[in-house]
């Protein structure tokens, strides 16, 4: 899978309240959530972001709550991928479970600037900054996560298990 898009930069410890404030959690409708994505980190972001863009952040992206609404809002806003120095663990799981591509790379997070055009070869984890020509390699995705992706996400993977085991199906 090839991802190409324009970059928005964010700092360290972007929490799930900044990604999607709890005041909007009286719905789980992805399009509604997308209208407020990253609003408390940058009020204008929902108006500025375009389908196909990429977020690059610092360390511990997605810390705080377990709300799956956070990666859902990002995905529904049309953001193709998130690159960060590191991800908070629940956000990391949730992103894989709902199919939001995420990549860990300290160097890419430090060097790539807002507005740069970046290309990601998702399978290999190779991140190329087309604006500068520099290339970075993301931390490899653990084999089990790859299996989840190949299955089409956790629910598809679970479906197979339900069928195979006849889990009270």
């Amino acid at each position: 899978m090839q991802i190409k898009g324009s970059v928005w930069k964010f700092g360290d410890n972007i929490d799930t309240d900044a990604i999607i404030p709890a005041r909007y959690l009286n719905t789980s409708d992805p399009d509604e959530l997308a209208k407020h994505v990253m609003e408390d980190a940058d009020k204008e972001f929902p108006n500025k972001v375009k389908a196909g863009d990429i977020i690059i952040a610092g360390k511990n992206f997605g810390c705080g709550s377990s709300r799956e609404h956070a990666p859902i809002a990002i995905k529904a806003a049309g953001i193709q991928a998130v690159i960060a120095k590191s991800f908070a663990r629940i956000f990391y799981r949730n992103s894989f479970n709902i199919g939001l591509p995420i990549f860990e790379s300290e160097a890419a997070s430090e060097k790539i600037k807002e507005g740069d055009i970046v290309e990601i070869e998702a399978d290999k984890g190779i991140i190329t900054n087309l604006s500068t020509g520099q290339q970075y390699t993301a931390k490899p995705i653990p084999p089990f996560m790859q299996e989840l992706i190949a299955a089409g996400g956790l629910i598809e993977w679970t479906k197979k298990k339900v069928l195979a085991k006849g889990v009270k199906a």
């Binding site: 929490d15 009020k43 810390c63 479970n97």
Partner: protein, 421 residues
């Protein structure tokens, strides 16, 4: 064997005898929970799995606590999804308001999570139950949906960090101060993906409510779980509540820890986290220049009976400062009743505080005490991120219940000592 308590509990829920950090496992879960914010997505995803029933109707808990009592039409629709699903699938653990409480206070109180359990919840503060010597961790709605169907969940066995606390606690200092101090020391990602194991003589003397507070905030350091090896205090707490058999696990003496930290508790002051990260800690005594508009006592972190007792001890015979709104929220219906019987609610109401029915409410800026632009709150809750309790330009400070009560009286961040206590 040289396993940590975390590794032992995880191993006991697989077919393996031993598991060690770094291993990827598929484990059986004892309980799966979700609330009115996370369950709607879990329900939607569960229905996609093709499962016709939940894996065990007495091991799936749906607790509407965040925006309940239903704060608006949309929130009511979400709560109704939980109610409808619980009826349709005959869930044994659905709690309507009047019987409910904040999930992480309610489930241990009612003996619905017990020592030795493996629990996942679509709420990050699920890690609270580590105080009982259980492995409990927050996950997303889709993970909960999958576990509702299969009774299993995948985990990477975490590395463990050990935190040893020794020395006598200073007056009014409790579990909240210890955990805020620890997060201040290691940072909000200081335990990322890891287990935080709390031990030492101070922990062995720490009452259960303080242990629950500490494990509750393990997530605030990025941890997968917080955990305390069970002892006589655990036994005392669990024995008359447990609705299922419980089991005590312990860490082997030669278990591997990626890091060990020690704290001399006699040097830990009453601690406050300043905006906008729980790790931004300062001694409460250094913050007396901060005036406060609202004080909140409650939440899954500090809404237990002992927390209310502490606050009431400070409030008794005093009034809330005229410039402050004080909101007290007992975390469960039982706590509410007990606090009423003990006269604690009377003390708060006489002091001109408001007392609410159990809800997460203002902790996450849901309802029951939202901040306007520029307002400042001090709360016994767990997070002080930007906009956490309301307007993105409001601010939240975090503290223990005694500091919160003293602050409500004086209208600025204060310690009980300043009231001669």
């Amino acid at each position: 064997m040289h396993m940590t308590i975390t590794e032992k509990i995880l191993a006991a829920h697989t077919e393996k005898k031993e598991v060690y950090h770094g291993e990827l496992i598929n484990a059986k879960v004892d309980l799966v929970l979700a609330n009115d914010i996370t369950a709607p997505i879990a329900i939607r995803e569960f229905k996609k799995t093709g499962a016709k029933e939940v894996f065990d109707k007495d091991r799936v808990a749906f607790i509407p606590d965040h925006f309940a009592p239903q704060k608006d039409i949309k929130a009511a629709e979400q709560c109704k999804m939980l109610r409808d699903f619980s009826k349709e699938y005959h869930l044994g653990l659905y709690f309507e308001i009047g019987r409910m409480g904040i999930e992480h206070a309610l489930l241990p109180e009612q003996g619905l999570v017990v020592s030795g359990d493996l629990v996942i919840g679509a709420d990050s503060h699920t890690c609270t139950y580590g105080a009982l010597g259980a492995f409990a961790t927050g996950v997303g709605s889709t993970d909960v949906a999958a576990a509702m169907a299969t009774g299993e969940c995948w985990f990477k066995v975490p590395e463990s960090m050990k935190f040893i606390y020794y020395g006598k606690l200073n007056k009014w200092v409790g579990g909240k101060d210890l955990i805020l101090h620890t997060i201040g020391d290691i940072g909000v990602d200081g335990a990322l993906y890891r287990a935080m194991e709390f031990e030492g003589e101070t922990i062995r003397n720490l009452p259960m409510h303080g242990r629950l507070t500490m494990c509750n905030m393990a997530i605030e350091a990025g941890a997968k779980n917080g955990i305390i090896v069970p002892d006589s205090i655990t036994e005392e707490y669990v024995k008359n509540r447990a609705k299922r058999p419980y089991k005590f696990y312990t860490s082997d003496p030669d278990a591997a820890y990626v890091e060990i930290r020690e704290y001399d508790c006699s040097k830990i002051p009453l601690t406050v986290s300043c905006p906008h990260l729980p790790s931004n800690t300062k001694p409460a005594a250094e913050l007396s220049h901060i005036t406060i508009d609202q004080v909140v006592i409650g939440s899954c972190t500090n809404g237990r009976l002992q927390d209310l007792r502490e606050a009431a001890q400070v409030m008794k015979g005093r009034k809330v400062n005229p410039n402050v709104r004080m909101i007290v929220i007992p975390a469960t219906q039982q706590i509410y009743k007990d606090a009423m019987k003990e006269g604690l609610l009377h003390i708060f109401i006489d002091a001109e505080a408001v007392v609410s029915t159990p809800t997460c409410g203002p902790c996450l800026g849901g309802h029951m005490g939202i901040l306007a632009k520029g307002e400042i709150a001090l709360a016994t809750t767990n997070r002080n991120f930007v906009g956490r309790m309301g307007h993105p330009e409001s601010e939240v400070y975090l503290s223990n219940p005694a500091v919160a009560a003293a602050t409500a009286v004086l209208g600025k961040i204060a310690t009980p000592e300043e009231l001669g206590l």
